[in-house]
């Protein structure tokens, strides 16, 4: 699950990680009040206004602005709220901004040079352990650093039994070019950051930049946090941070029916039991000259209700020109699935696009007979190749 920057920072702060302080606002009045409160709390008299959307690269699209007065806070917020923010990660349609984070200005002048670093925590799938990945080159696109100066990217693998050990924190600080008191600050920052990661069952932390201020404080200026969906059952407060307005409506609807659905932009819809077979079915569609309109795994329970719900979601998309239902019956019986398809088809009525039903496995022949005998505009297939040929014939 994805959360907003302001939510991510609240999690970090609660777990003892130093952050750039800020308050979230949904109206210009709230933004001004937040700025006044930050002035009282931190003494900051400049503020950074940051659009809260689930996408990076906000600065490039005008979603991060510096305000040097309360009037500017109001003016910037008025402009930013409600805008469609387009960043390199949102796609051309952009994302609507409905909240901003009013944050303290942490780039104030001081006795030492400020420094920006990159730090993330993620899983190393090969070792089955989490890794702190970091670079002295922060505040920029890390993919670019990785491609052009790979020697500037460091990794510290963490033993799950011990967490970040003191010497590891010190090594990280050293590799970032720090020494003395501020190196100890950095080691502490990393140790707390990792502890937060574990505390909330995160699947990704990306702090870009981590800032060394001009008075030698270490803090998180931005925070991208993803939470492991499988662990949400033990984090009810985090589950409440879910922002449905950031999600695709058809995916929310599918979730209500326990369907695993991902919206894509092709012309052939598909409904499959099992994630691997669903991906393989999308591949078949592409190889047959179509483009998959979605990923949809109905799981083990392919019955009339799930088929109906799935078909409805797929057919809501006007770009869909054909639908391929691909079921490999193991425990689930193909003749039952076939009856489910016929039932759902009749119930939905007025289906204008051809539907291909490929049933294989338990009672496949009986299933095909049900489809063929239904008198509906439904094509049946048994082998995967037959299904592929039908897709080609209909949309290729």
């Amino acid at each position: 699950m994805n959360i907003h920057e302001y939510q991510a920072k609240a999690i970090l702060k609660e777990n003892g990680v130093n952050i750039q302080e800020g308050q979230v606002a949904a109206t210009p009045d709230e933004a001004v009040a937040a700025a006044e409160a930050l002035l009282a709390e931190t003494g900051t008299n400049w503020w950074v206004i940051k659009a809260q959307i689930h996408a990076g690269g906000r600065g490039k699209g005008g979603g991060v602005k510096l305000a040097k007065s309360l009037d500017e806070v109001r003016a910037i917020t008025e402009k930013m709220l409600g805008m469609q923010l387009v960043t390199p990660q949102t796609g051309p349609e952009g994302k609507k901004v409905s909240k901003v984070l009013v944050a303290q200005d942490v780039y104030y002048p001081g006795p030492t040079e400020k420094q920006e670093y990159y730090m993330s925590i993620l899983l190393n799938r090969q070792s089955g352990r989490n890794v702190v990945m970091y670079s002295p080159e922060g505040g920029v696109d890390i993919e670019e650093v990785a491609a052009q100066r790979p020697e500037k990217i460091f990794k510290e693998e963490i033993d799950p039994s011990f967490g970040v050990l003191p010497f590891q924190g010190q090594r990280i600080a050293r590799n970032l070019g720090l020494s003395g008191k501020v190196a100890r600050e950095m080691a502490h920052f990393v140790e707390r950051l990792y502890a937060s990661f574990v505390a909330v069952d995160a699947s990704l932390f990306e702090i870009n930049p981590v800032l060394k201020t001009t008075d030698d404080k270490i803090l998180a200026v931005d925070a991208k946090v993803n939470i492991d969906d499988s662990a949400l059952f033990r984090h009810s407060l985090i589950e409440q941070m879910r922002d449905l307005s950031e999600e695709e409506p058809s995916e929310i609807e599918a979730g209500k029916h326990n369907l695993n659905f991902v919206k894509l932009d092709g012309n052939v819809g598909c409904m499959v039991n099992g994630a691997g077979l669903a991906m393989a079915t999308m591949d078949i569609i592409k190889l047959s000259g179509g483009e998959p309109a979605n990923f949809l795994d109905v799981g083990g329970g392919a019955n009339a209700q799930t088929v109906e719900a799935g078909l409805k979601i797929i057919l809501d998309d006007p770009r869909v020109k054909a639908v391929l239902i691909n079921i490999f019956g193991g425990i689930v019986r193909c003749d039952r699935v076939a009856s489910g398809v016929v039932e759902a088809y009749k119930k939905l009525g007025n289906i204008k696009v051809p539907i291909i039903v490929r049933l294989q496995g338990t009672n496949a022949e009986e299933g095909k007979a049900v489809i063929d005998g239904s008198g509906l505009k439904v094509y049946s297939a048994i082998t995967l190749q037959e299904a592929a040929d039908l897709v080609k014939q209909l949309v290729g």
């Binding site: 033993d159 691997g276 077979l277 995967l384």
Partner: protein
């Protein structure tokens, strides 16, 4: 021969009395697997499906001599069930459960590291050595005893491949569903090694998907050490980056874990890579013929 499990495997079911455990234990027994009992904490001493129920894996192992366990325990408790089985001396643990928190699996993997145990899964269909034993949820009837080994991250896609093989007269030695999660007990490479070293396995089908580097790791090893033809497929050629495609582990994170990148490495390493999942069986048949002719 076969790997991991055979007719001598003594199997217990963790989560025995739950609906999943009950149904699939019944199916395994029907297939002829030697299920010797099960574990459900609090229900020890009772009898279920005509078999003894124990409170712990330790008790079950003592009483039955079980060496294999299959886990249907709900996600919140499944990692603990895996560690309990390993602690009790079980040699092969097959974890079917889907949706175990990653942090729990990181812990379980660390716990298993210094023990003589093989974990298959989680989030997998299990393992079957056709005609000998089935430890999992796959439909037994599509399989046939033979000499093709199958390694796969998915469930129904594996059944699809097996079905194609069987219909072409290619039986299977052992089919290993390694699971679709980001942290799993046995990697593609480890499963491929088992089959490559199995004298009765003549060819290997390796089915992967987007995300991670397991298939390329295996392909590079096969290039150096492979002695049998390997047919490879990667699901998710059309998957967009950054989106989880059903399996927790099926997500394109960078340029190296796309289907295209993996297939390219696999081709370069001499695997018989198929673009279409409909061609897995036929390609295996050809590869075997070519191997015999050459």
């Amino acid at each position: 021969m076969s790997v991991l499990i055979d007719q001598h495997s003594k199997i217990i079911v963790q989560g025995f009395t739950g609906s999943e455990g009950t149904f699939h234990a019944g199916q395994m027994l029907e297939y002829g697997s030697d299920v010797v009992g099960g574990v459900t904490p609090g229900k020890g001493g009772s009898v279920h499906l005509g078999l003894p129920v124990f409170n712990s894996v330790e008790e079950a192992v003592k009483a039955t001599g079980a060496d294999t366990s299959v886990i249907f325990v709900p996600p919140a408790f499944a990692a603990d069930a895996i560690m309990e089985a390993a602690d009790a001396g079980i040699a092969v643990i097959v974890a079917i459960t889907e949706g175990i928190p990653v942090a729990d699996m990181i812990k379980a993997k660390a716990f298993l590291a210094d023990k003589q145990v093989t974990l298959i899964g989680p989030n997998c269909p299990g393992v079957i050595s056709p005609g000998k034993a089935k430890v999992g949820i796959m439909p037994g009837f599509i399989h046939q005893q033979g000499s093709i080994g199958v390694v796969s991250r998915s469930g129904t896609l594996t059944y699809e491949a097996v079905d194609q093989l069987t219909k072409l007269g290619l039986g299977q030695s052992t089919c290993i569903g390694i699971g679709g999660d980001p942290v799993i007990g046995t990697s593609t490479l480890e499963a491929v090694k088992l089959l490559m070293n199995d004298p009765d396995t003549e060819g290997i089908v390796m089915i992967g998907e987007i995300g991670g580097s397991m298939e390329t790791d295996a392909a590079r090893w096969i290039k150096e050490h492979g002695t049998k033809p390997v047919v490879g497929f990667i699901a998710g050629q059309t998957a967009p980056p950054g989106r989880r495609m059903g399996h927790a582990g099926a997500i394109v994170g960078g340029k190296d874990d796309t289907a295209a990148a993996k297939m390219e490495v696999m081709r370069a390493c001499g695997l018989h890579v198929v673009d279409s999942p409909a061609a897995i069986g036929a390609t295996m048949l050809e590869a075997l013929k070519a191997q015999k002719a050459g």
